[in-house]
């Protein structure tokens, strides 16, 4: 079963290389490619398994694009692409509905792994992003908001300190898979958190 992928990337050279990567990798299929967000609004009609979306796009930003596409609800998972991985916008993208990210300095192997992992239900996260997640949950102290469980908090803390998933599993006496599952849940809470925020905002209107 091939993984179908769509691209939204404005830099021609980089888009070309991604196309090259996807087409030359077994198990990957290139579905569609777009040069800007406006054109990519119809991406949901394509129904790709994975959509790689550049954060920095002319016109509408990648984050807004993800928000719009997410709302149309489908099984597409979004991988956001940025130039460096300490970008605050990555976190916003994750909140908007992205489930993982790659950087433009990633190697082909790293990109391929990220796509595969996402497809298989994983949720990659860096120490920087882990910090941001912790901060974000700390700020929301409302009653009807979803909070992180203690275990999830532990995982995030260790991650923010720079431990690998493996090391986290060792330290908390849980399995590698469990660590990844916790991360997936955290992401989901992030998304829900965002949705709840949106709903609350709507209620106030």
């Amino acid at each position: 079963m091939d993984i179908s992928i769509s691209l939204v990337e404005d830099n021609k050279a980089f888009r070309e290389s991604l196309v090259q990567l996807i087409t030359s990798t077994e198990g990957f299929v290139l579905l569609t490619e777009y040069g800007n967000a406006e054109k990519a609004l119809q991406l949901s009609k394509d129904h790709p398994d994975i959509a790689i979306i550049d954060i920095e796009l002319p016109g509408m930003s990648g984050i807004d694009l993800i928000k719009k596409l997410q709302a149309e609800n489908n099984s597409t998972q979004y991988l956001v692409c940025s130039s460096y991985d300490d970008d605050d916008r990555i976190f916003s993208a994750l909140q908007a509905g992205a489930s993982g990210y790659i950087t433009k300095s990633s190697t082909s192997t790293q990109i391929i792994d990220a796509i595969k992992e996402l497809y298989n239900g994983g949720s990659p996260m860096s120490p920087y992003i882990a910090r941001r997640v912790i901060d974000s949950f700390q700020k929301k102290k409302n009653k009807d908001e979803l909070l992180l469980s203690d275990r999830e908090k532990e995982v995030l803390q260790l991650l923010s300190k720079g431990l690998l998933y493996k090391e986290i599993a060792e330290q908390l006496f849980i399995s590698y898979e469990t660590v990844k599952k916790h991360l997936k849940n955290i992401y989901q809470k992030l998304h829900v958190q965002n949705k709840v925020e949106a709903i609350n905002k709507f209620k106030l209107l």
């Binding site: 460096y84 433009k104 860096s126």
Partner: protein, 459 residues
């Protein structure tokens, strides 16, 4: 009582003491010609300088001269005659009759009246005219003369006076028989002029006459004016200080704005480089990598790999420059995370296991791009050494921020640094130079490998 040409001697019968009186005690002259006593126990003397009467209790003499109407100042010796009512003293020009019951010689203090107060105006004195009994003068009318006289006409020219201006004189001032006193340049204020008769022969309490005098201050002498001057001066000083601070603030603001402009420019350059060139370079790199994988010919693959390495280096350096230029990275937290990321990247394809220890809470401290770059490149150099020269299996990277200092440790378990290598190499020199530029310290130790510690002051 005995008299002779040397004065008067008094012999106290009961105590057997003898006192001598002469000019010093007020006796008109020591040459005494006549002596008699009146009914009031006063002793009268005719001397060669006038007539003198002595009160034994008060030990006071009153003297009369020709001016007072006696026949002459010279009396004749033994020329005394007494009747029941009078004493007759003879002198060279006639004789004087003295009542044995004289009234008003040793009498109570007379009242002294102040007859006039005048002030200088122009070239002369102007009498102060005012009906209400108070003296109120303007500030330029402050040179005054006060005239007074005792209301005792009989001894008027012999009344002795003393005066005191409350507010000026601290004590009573004797004025002899003068009937006036002058004050010059009186400052504004309230005074009380007092005058009294002080003759020793007067009995009882002296009657003090008081006259309140007020000099009105000129407008520039008033308290209100003085307060206003102080307030005004304070205000002026305040304005000056304020001006100074405002100017300084303005200077600071200009400097700050200039800095901001520089930062914005950097940001702009960084963004421009990064957008197109950065992304494009990444694309080329990826393509090269993919192409390399496809090539079967070993030699060609080697060459393509070289191209790939070059591009990777180039890309990496460019990203470093962009990181430096981007002012949103001007924080301690950003620096530490960046170093961590770069360290991971540096060592991920090697046999070295990297472990990083980061403080749970990184203080929010600003750090400019020069400082960030210096620290980053120093640590990078240390890591590079560990990678290339140490032959180690493990590298520990530790960060700590406390006591306003940043501590970074790079520790490997390799073969340690030989002293030939250590202090001479370019890398080490650069590290030292960078650290000293930051006001920090670099410390190199050998223990089961190499440990390099960086201390950098924060703030």
């Amino acid at each position: 009582m005995v008299f002779y040409h040397e004065g008067l001697a008094r012999w106290n019968i009961t105590s057997n003491a003898i006192e001598v009186f002469n000019e010093k005690q007020g006796l008109l002259s020591s040459s005494i010609y006549n002596i008699a006593k009146d009914d009031k126990n006063n002793i009268w003397f005719g001397t060669n300088s006038g007539l003198s009467v002595f009160n034994a209790d008060k030990k006071v003499f009153i003297n009369y001269t020709v001016n007072d109407g006696i026949q002459s100042n010279e009396f004749n010796g033994f020329a005394v005659c007494e009747t029941p009512r009078n004493i007759y003293f003879g002198g060279v020009a006639g004789f004087n009759i003295i009542s044995k019951n004289p009234a008003g010689i040793f009498k109570p203090f007379p009242y002294v009246a102040i007859s006039q107060v005048s002030y200088i105006s122009g070239n002369g004195y102007v009498p102060y005219q005012n009906a209400d009994g108070k003296i109120t003068l303007k500030n330029f009318q402050n040179n005054i003369i006060i005239n007074y006289a005792s209301l005792d006409f009989s001894t008027n020219h012999r009344t002795q006076y003393a005066y005191k201006m409350e507010g000026i004189d601290k004590t009573w001032i004797m004025n002899g028989s003068a009937n006036s006193v002058a004050y010059t340049n009186l400052g504004p204020g309230n005074y009380t002029f007092k005058v009294k008769a002080v003759n020793p022969e007067f009995t009882g309490e002296p009657k003090i006459t008081s006259l309140p005098i007020r000099i009105i201050p000129a407008w520039y002498q008033t308290v209100l004016f003085k307060i206003l001057v102080v307030l005004f001066s304070a205000f002026i000083i305040f304005m000056f200080i304020r001006m100074f601070f405002k100017a300084r603030l303005k200077q600071q603001r200009i400097a700050y704005e200039r800095q901001l402009a520089i930062q914005n420019e950097r940001q702009r350059i960084s963004a421009e480089i990064h957008d197109d060139i950065g992304a494009g370079l990444s694309g080329v790199r990826l393509l090269t990598e993919l192409t390399g994988k496809k090539i079967e010919n070993k030699e060609t693959q080697e060459e393509v790999n070289k191209i790939y390495s070059s591009i990777t280096d180039l890309s990496s350096k460019m990203r470093e420059v962009i990181w430096t230029l981007n002012s949103s990275n001007d924080t301690l937290e950003n620096l530490l995370l960046y170093i961590q990321r770069q360290a991971k990247q540096l060592l991920e394809n090697s046999n070295i296991k990297l472990s990083v220890s980061m403080p749970g809470n990184i203080p929010a401290i600003e750090m400019g791009s020069e400082k960030r770059t210096d620290i980053y490149l120093s640590v990078k150099e240390a890591l590079h050494n560990a990678l290339k020269h140490s032959g180690a299996e493990k590298v520990e990277l530790t960060f700590a921020a406390e006591n306003n200092r940043l501590y970074i440790t790079v520790r490997d378990n390799g073969k340690g640094i030989q002293s030939t290598q250590s202090n001479d190499g370019n890398g080490m020199l650069n590290m030292k130079k960078r650290m000293s530029r930051l006001g920090g310290i670099i410390d190199v130790k050998n223990d089961n490998g190499t440990t390099i510690q960086f201390y950098v002051p924060l703030k």
